[in-house]
Amino acid sequence: MQAVEKKSAVKTGSSPKEKAIQFLFKYGAIALLAIIIFYFSTVSDAFLTYGNFSDIMRSISIVTLLALGVTFTLVVDGFDLSVGSTMSLSTVVTASLMVWYDMPLWLVLLLPLLIGVLAGAVNSFLIVVLGIPDLLATLSMMYIVAGLHRTYTEGYSIYNNMPLTSGGTAPGQLSEAFLWIGQGQMLGLPVPVWIMVILVLVSYLILNHTRWGRVLYMTGGNAEAATLSGVNVKKVKFTAYVVSGIFASMAGILFTARVGSGQIDAGAPLMMEAVAAVFVGYSVLGAGKPNALGTFFGAAVIGILLNGLTILNLPYYAFDIIKGGVLVAALAVTYVYAKKKFSKS
């Protein structure tokens, strides 16, 4: 009955082909990015400028936050499809707290985060307590939360001084202080970029250099072994989903501040993009697993590509081909390598 333990055929790369694969696995993604940047900068002078790069960074900040949340759930071997909806809900709630209820800034920032916590908690209830597989549980939640956010606004987007269905106009406005979060500058960089960089670094530190990160990765690697090593796997999964919810609601807050209104369904299209960013991130520096820096890198690759392709005047409808192509390339490198490494002959 014992497990068939298979040793890897080759431990250290030997044949040139193996070496090439290993090189690709480690530096392929970075090399690709360098080539892309080099190419675009030869095509357009406007591309390789400080201003353009700070714009690109700003444009990926929202999707990166969302993707960081997805990273956490993937680290514990989960999957969160509901982040897009949670972000949409947080977007309209944030705006409504100011526009409809004229609340102070701290509440405006706090309440959406609580919504994120709640969404994460419900997800983990479905997954951990009821035992519904992650993908399906969060798929259902995706529908439910999307429905809730539309019901909350009755289908309206929320903007300054909007007329209310009950007559009259809404009392509040998005405050300057709030808008600064999405549109302001600080020390020469847009505020959303600061937020993103800080959150990426914090996530990186937590995941790679702290006890918690270790527990998260190990739980994802082998939940059963983690349990028998004294980890409360349920709590860990719960935490990961709550973190994911919080990131989604932060993305929502940022979206509202960036756009200056509470757009309905803002998060839905970003979900797949966030997932793509995380998976492209797998291939960064040969991590082969979800990781915060990789996620940031993945989002950046996609953002830079889109920016460059617009400059090249590529029609918008071709962007998805490129996006999918990059994703396939990243996945192929990761998994072909993994297959070689842990090959079953």
Binding site: V215, S229, G230
Partner: protein, 518 residues
């Protein structure tokens, strides 16, 4: 002279740079049962997988009735009338499908009919199960609901469906009770009578002698010797397997047994365990033996807080424990080396150092951030202390051999100062050399005053290492032996639900040395 039914000569097979087979050979006559023996990893299963078309050999020939044969897939082997009852039951059972579908599984891939009649399916399945005297198994239920033994029977039934020329039994009796094994043997007798050639792999020597006509021994992927089962003695065969006489060097103990440490009273859980009471003292190694399915693993996990207890108390070092989760057990000073180490004990994709530090992360991250240097130092220390063969603390465990992985599964508890160590089948799938190392380790722990409970179905090993032996049967402790009293026969008798009164006289204690299983 007529050709033998099967002839395999000079077979070589390597996986990457591991050579599993080298100069292996094997032959089989019509109506013969030819047993294949060898220690773990000798290459028995690999040779049989070549014969059944799962792997193809790098070199060597296979002849069936004298004509050479290339087997490129399991399908081709089946077309030649070669069927296999695989060792790893769950690789061959489709849990979601019904028993009948599992029995007739092979007919789906290659069959010619397009529609499938449920009635015919069930009838065929019932007929075969009847042949096996196992028609108590309902053919309509899902295979997932079967016991391990029943699954094994389904796999055997699967081979019987066809008019096979050769049937390979790879450790079919491992999960079977004595009674079930006896039923299987009568089926094999029947097959013999029909002229089917049977290949029989087992680690239980007595049954090999009972059922086999010839015995071939393999070691390190090579053919060693072929015996006539009627003429050979068990000692000869064992010597041939190990390349040396089986020494009893393990049976040395030099440590003192101290005060009672673990006291278990009236323990029952929601599943198998019924009212168990026992104890273990400081410095004592208590063996818990029983056949597969007796509930040893359940007991180990219950002591580790993994399952819900319905009654009973656990006291460790004078403190009553309430174990809701393994983390409670770890805090109380209990360590578990689980049976399925790759699934339950280790993170095989992670490095040795990450595995070793995991149960006590706090020690390696005093200020929340991981102190990777301390972690590596500890990993080095473990490598040295347990003689783990690896060049690097950062290699993923998947690159380590099974024995070395098992040492890591033990070593990871060294960062905690546990009082009680539970070992669940720690030698399972581990080669002889590593086994000796592991026994030494357990000894060392005991000498330093730890209590050890050693769960095993390898009875002779348990006798070798334990100070005291408890026999489990069907979720209960049915008998306690001191080491002096314990013999393989007596233990086996209790372990299979028997009582000694009737049979004591027939069991000859001096046969102990004959009944060795490796």
């Amino acid at each position: 002279m007529e050709h033998p039914l099967l002839e395999m000569t000079a077979i070589r097979k390597s996986f990457g740079n591991v050579t599993a087979l080298e100069q292996a050979q094997f032959s089989l006559e019509k109506g013969e049962v030819h047993a294949l023996l060898g220690v773990n990893g000798a290459g028995k299963s690999t040779l049989m997988k070549i014969l059944s078309g799962v792997y193809s050999q790098d070199e060597g020939d296979i002849k069936l009735n004298g004509s050479p044969l290339q087997l490129r897939s399991p399908k081709e082997a089946k077309e030649q009338g070669i069927y296999t009852v695989y060792q790893e039951v769950d690789t061959a059972i489709v849990a979601e499908l019904s028993v009948a579908e599992n029995i007739l599984l092979d007919t789906f891939a290659g069959g010619s009919s397009f529609f499938i009649s449920q009635k015919k399916l069930y009838d065929d399945a019932r007929r075969v199960l009847k042949e096996l005297q196992s028609d108590n198994i309902a053919v309509g239920q899902k295979a997932a609901d079967l016991t391990l033994a029943e699954k094994q029977l389904v796999l055997i039934a699967r081979a019987l469906v066809h008019s096979a020329k050769i049937i390979i039994f790879d450790e079919p009796t491992a999960p079977l009770s004595l009674h079930e094994s006896a039923k299987l043997f009568s089926v094999i007798e029947g097959l013999k009578a029909q002229g089917v050639g049977c290949i029989f792999i087992s680690h239980r020597l007595p049954e090999v002698f009972e059922i086999g006509d010839r015995i071939t021994v393999m070691a390190e992927g090579k053919w060693v010797q072929t015996f006539d089962a009627k003429a050979a003695s068990q000692e000869e065969v064992v010597e041939s397997m190990l390349g040396a006489k089986l020494s009893n060097e393990l049976v040395h103990r030099d440590h003192e047994i101290g005060a009672p440490q673990l006291i278990v009273e009236g323990l029952s859980d929601e599943g198998k365990l019924k009212h168990l009471s026992f104890g273990a003292a400081a410095g004592e190694i208590v063996g818990v033996v029983g056949l597969v399915g007796a509930g040893k693993t359940e007991l180990a996990k219950a002591l580790f807080g993994e399952s819900k207890l319905t009654s009973g108390t656990i006291t460790l070092g004078g403190r009553a424990l309430k174990l809701k989760h393994p983390s409670d057990a770890i805090k109380a000073g209990i360590a578990l080396v689980p049976e399925e180490r790759r699934k339950e004990g280790l993170f095989v994709q992670e490095s040795l150092s990450a595995n070793a530090s995991f149960p006590n992360l706090r020690r390696f991250s005093p200020k929340f951030f991981m102190d990777k240097r301390a972690e590596r130092a500890f990993a080095k220390d473990i490598i040295g202390r347990l003689q783990i063969k690896t060049d690097n603390t950062e290699t993923p465990l998947i690159h380590l051999s099974g024995g070395n992985q098992q040492k890591v599964a033990i070593g990871k508890w060294m960062s905690l100062d546990s009082k009680l160590y539970l070992f669940d089948e720690p030698t399972k799938g581990v080669d002889i050399g590593a086994k000796v190392d592991i026994f030494k380790l357990i000894r060392q722990l005991a000498s330093s005053g730890k209590s050890c409970v050693y769960f095993s179905s390898e009875i002779h090993e348990a006798i070798g290492i334990s100070d005291r032996i408890l026999v489990m049967y069907n979720g209960q402790i049915v008998k306690e032996f001191s080491r002096q009293e314990a013999t393989q026969e007596r233990i086996l008798l209790y372990a299979s639900g028997g009582k000694e009164e009737r049979s004591e006289n027939r069991q000859q204690p001096e046969r102990k040395s004959h009944t060795v299983s490796v």
